[in-house]
Symmetry: C2
Subunit: 254 residues, 2 copies
């Protein structure tokens, strides 16, 4: 199913994605869900994808073709004045791809061709922006109160984001939190798996990335993170108040 | 949507359930999801329900009618030699109720009348048993490797159970873990809410319960548990290894 998330901080934007795809248990594979488009000093965009792989790959391919093509009437990423225009554009491409293969008249009518995207970045002259593009083509943005967006298998990894992430969270803390959120999901759901990609875009840098790394399954840091999180959670649980006060109250009642 | 769970320990069975129901945002209400049937020294059974409220209430009502009725040919809880027979019985009642109102010829055909149950307990002469009864009527049991079952909104609360629960976990620890699992879910999903009921059945006691309590929204223990968990998780996160080693490795690469 995939799991991707992005966080809007005062410092910039954090993106994190997994790489597992599956069309059933014996068709499990590895594809990157993170796509980058940038012109240094002018614009920097990151696109994360979830849902139907064919649809999301077709959208990315069309974005590339529009960039390289010479149809002056056609929109492409370089023409956008705002990241929100790119979000609309991605939405339209996505809807069109889905309709090709799963519309009412298509041979495969009825199968779920939907794809969901996270799009974030900055165009020179504008502040950074972050959007979630729905399969229906429309989009929403993150907010101060909810400064992150998730797509795919979102539930396992949500609680830690709610606890830790604020707009003023430092970038390293937010990236570490994204990895914990991702790792909790990887351990609870077989359709989400490594390698895990993580990118930090520093606000107003207009560079492709300020930080980027890809952690394979057995990366030593991932192993240390998992072990430390396991031990620390165990201790966090052991240090909780016991139920003895509740039991005593119940005993007092009978 | 509800969230209920049960845990099979060497010491006995732990049951935990919420009380929120909703048929849309302006039809939110409170109903217990925990139903108990027992004959001291002979049998003790606990039934937790999730899904369509009308279906699960009808099943519970039918169980009561069968117990009180004088149709000697009809099965009832007192006639079961094994808890697994009760699981089959609950499954049959559930399927029959669903078909009444949402089968092909019914006026409301097509709406989701499905209900899922957790059934656990003991009949004298047999060991304790724990089952999950599906809307289709069939059931599965817990195992040594997976000694707990969940129904309803299960994803948020699963990771802590995976970390803490083993068959030899002490009862108080398991009840505390169930409450943490429940509280994480309550905080992440508006269709799950207090009061929270928690029951411990001691293996071979053949009593209705060894421990039972109901925690309302503002119970002081719930407030303490939440605050302690928040603080401890925050500390657990702060004590994780930072990404500096990964950043240094990336920097070394360019």
């Amino acid at each position: 199913m995939t799991y991707c998330l992005a966080i809007a901080l005062d410092e910039g934007l954090v993106f994190c994605s997994d790489s597992r795809t599956n069309a059933g248990p014996d068709r499990v594979s590895t594809y990157s869900k993170m796509h980058r488009f940038s012109v240094p000093y002018d614009r920097s965009l990151v696109l994360l994808s979830a849902g139907n792989l064919a649809t999301s790959q077709a959208v990315v391919a069309q974005i590339q073709r529009d960039l390289e093509g010479d149809d002056k009437g056609r929109f492409n990423l370089l023409k956008a004045k705002y990241v929100s225009e790119v979000a609309e554009y991605v939405g339209e491409l996505s809807v069109r791809e889905q309709a090709k293969y799963s519309g009412d008249n298509a041979p495969g009518a009825g199968f779920n061709a939907g794809a969901t995207f996270i799009l974030g970045g900055q165009v020179k002259g504008q502040p950074q922006e972050l959007y979630l593009v729905y399969p229906e083509g429309n989009h929403i943005t993150a907010s101060e109160q909810h400064p992150y967006l998730q797509i795919g298998e979102t539930k396992y990894g949500k609680p830690i984001l709610d606890r830790i992430i604020r707009p003023d969270t430092p970038a390293e803390t937010a990236m570490r939190c994204a990895l914990v959120s991702m790792d909790s999901t990887v351990r609870s759901n077989a359709t989400v798996g490594p390698p895990i990609e993580c990118l930090f875009y520093r606000a107003d840098s207009l560079q492709p990335q300020s930080r980027y790394f890809k952690l394979e399954e057995h990366h030593p840091y991932l192993a240390r993170l998992r072990k430390a999180w396991d031990d620390n959670i165990r201790q966090a649980f052991d240090n909780l108040p016991t139920l003895s006060e509740v039991f005593d109250a119940e005993a007092g009642r009978h």
